[in-house]
């Protein structure tokens, strides 16, 4: 890069701001400035470091069975995070995902235990997730209520609905399609856990939507400057409604897979998931102020949390300390973002 401020200004014979002459940002620099890139490195670095410190760790962690478990465990969270990240790009937040997961899961269990087919039950589960999302979205976008408060309300409503419709019952008999459900959530295809396949397909689809569609571009515009988006004719209210519906949909898909994997469902399913989901998106590079993040952020953030949990477990660290480590990584992620922001300005 030879167009340093001094030479160019001299050539033009004009006094322009030095900022005007900043060299173009290369692809490599752009990659280095992405939080998701550093998190990806951390996902591989953590087990490597653990292997060096504790040789016995390697024998367990890198085993095929363990990798299979790690990927499957984070798939449930990452699928929800794909919806959450869309909400967060617009500058919103969805705290209700854990409870909505319970509503969808219980609806699935209820309908299947009444011996309806899996497809009818799955449709009912998805419709209930979408309905919860639409409720959130309507209040937030059309009545202009705060996303934090509305989804906090839904967190309480959803959990209570799950209790009420299940009558605090435990479902483990899923009628004639039980095998299909268990296979879908707990089975594998070509050695990859089925939920992971769902995750990859959904993540690729969402990555495409965020990057190449008008809908995706407008979400970032809303997060960047909602007023500006409105003035340029972006249908802000409709889009905000739709992201909460999407979040409900993704949560319902995750619910179906989770129930299939667990082989049972109680109204306690998904308790505290909202924190893990939001932590995943923030670690991956989404910003609570909106305008940042993407499908890969949701994916890799969820992966990092699971790798930390798994590594600590295998290293024999008391599981009580897991929350502390995950929390530290959330704070570290925000700190990293602040440092990068300072360098840019």
């Amino acid at each position: 890069m030879d167009n340093r401020p001094t030479t160019t200004a001299a050539n033009n014979g004009m006094a322009l701001d030095p900022v005007e002459q900043t060299p173009p940002v290369s692809l490599w620099q752009r990659l280095l400035s992405k939080q998701a890139f550093w998190v990806t490195i951390a996902v591989f670095l953590i087990p490597l470091v653990m292997t060096l410190i504790e040789p016995t760790f390697a024998a367990v962690f890198w085993k095929e069975g363990n990798i299979f478990n790690v990927t499957r465990n984070f798939a449930f969270i990452a699928i929800i995070a794909l919806g959450q990240v869309a909400v967060m790009i617009t500058g919103g937040i969805d705290l209700s995902v854990g409870s909505v997961l319970a509503v969808s899961g219980i609806v699935l269990g209820l309908v299947m235990s009444a011996d309806y087919s899996f497809w009818i039950a799955a449709l009912a589960a998805i419709m209930s997730g979408v309905a919860c999302g639409a409720f959130n979205g309507y209040l937030i976008s059309y009545l202009r209520l705060s996303p934090f408060v509305v989804t906090l309300g839904m967190l309480s409503i959803g959990r209570s609905l799950a209790l009420a419709i299940s009558n605090n019952k435990f479902f483990y008999q899923f009628g004639h399609d039980q095998k299909l459900l268990i296979e879908l959530g707990g089975g594998e295809t070509f050695g990859i856990a089925n939920p992971v396949i769902f995750l990859v397909v959904l993540a690729l689809f969402m990555a495409f939507v965020f990057r190449f569609t008008k809908w995706g571009r407008h979400l970032y515009a809303i997060g960047g400057n909602e007023q500006a988006a409105r003035l340029t004719g972006v249908p802000v209210d409709r889009l905000k409604f739709e992201v909460y519906v999407l979040s409900g949909l993704m949560t319902a898909i995750s619910a179906i897979l989770s129930v299939g994997w667990l082989g049972s469902v109680t109204n306690g399913i998904g308790l505290g998931y909202e924190l893990r989901v939001i932590a995943s998106t923030v670690i991956g590079g989404a910003n609570l102020m909106g305008g940042e993040g993407g499908a890969y952020a949701a994916f890799v953030g969820a992966a990092l949390i699971e790798v930390i949990r798994n590594s600590l477990l295998l290293a024999g660290v008391d599981p009580y300390w897991q929350g502390t480590f995950v929390g530290l990584f959330i704070i570290l992620a925000v700190l990293l973002e602040r440092l990068r922001g300072r360098r840019v300005n």
Binding site: D17, Y220, A228
Partner: protein
């Protein structure tokens, strides 16, 4: 014939009369400087023209035809663009994404339509070139100087072949050096035959680029004359009320 004619435009907010029977017109290739103290009605007038809200009474003619705007998008479709004081840019998007926001170029890809970033970059580069700005289409607005941001906001108005550009305090929040840049951008727009309304508190800016000067005081138009026939002293007097009308 004037490009835009406002006849007896009034606007009430409850008992408050923000604009009182204001007549006003704009012609192609001329810059009108709109001045007045805070609360004189400048912003209200701009918002009426830009379609943010309809006037309480009076009529607006664009190229001789009566127009009614209900939303900013209506005014934009008619060829009236606004550069807002805060520029209304999304800091997290690229320059070209901002220029095309709400009007993205799309490309067919079988049954699906995807954003055509390449075509948008090319067009944005042309627009920045016309404005003699060094703004790069793919750069993120967050990393840009005040002058470049102005170029992006102005390029946006250019995209639709706007006939009228309303500029709300474009030089209020930028450095002295960048003011010169923005005034140059403004002159280039004028030279392309666009009618410009410049709302500004800065007397030197108005006197250096405006052809005509309009002064509002408490919702009334108190002056409307060529810049050559006025002086900063007179305008100051008109704004404060020391001179009743001119």
């Amino acid at each position: 014939m004037a490009l835009l004619e406002l006849k007896g435009i009034s606007k009430h907010f409850g008992a408050i009369e923000a604009l009182a029977a204001v007549d006003f017109d704009m012609e192609p290739g001329l810059v009108v400087g709109l001045m007045g103290d805070n609360g004189a009605g400048k912003s209200t007038l701009v918002k009426v023209i830009a379609g943010n809200f309809p006037p309480s009474s009076g009529e607006m003619l664009l190229e001789g035809r009566r127009v009614h705007f209900h939303k900013p998008v209506d005014a934009r479709a008619a060829g009236i663009e606004v550069v807002y004081q805060d520029l209304a840019l999304c800091n997290n998007l690229s320059a070209s994404a901002n220029v095309f926001l709400g009007r993205e170029k799309m490309r067919r890809f079988g049954p699906i339509r995807v954003l055509d970033d390449r075509a948008m970059h090319v067009r944005a580069r042309e627009l920045f070139g016309e404005l003699k700005s060094e703004t790069r289409p793919a750069d993120t607005v967050r990393m840009m100087s005040g002058g470049q941001r102005q170029a992006v906001a102005i390029a946006r108005t250019h995209l639709s072949q706007a006939k009228i550009v309303l500029m709300d305090e474009p030089t209020a929040a930028i450095s002295v050096r960048q003011v010169a840049e923005v005034l140059d951008l403004l002159r280039r727009l004028r030279d392309q035959g666009i009618a410009i309304l410049l709302i500004s508190h800065r007397m030197p800016d108005v006197f250096s680029v405006a052809d005509r000067i309009v002064v509002l005081r408490r919702g009334h138009k108190v002056a409307d004359k060529p810049v050559a026939d006025s002086s900063p002293e007179e305008v100051t007097g008109l704004i404060t009320g020391a001179i009743r009308a001119a």
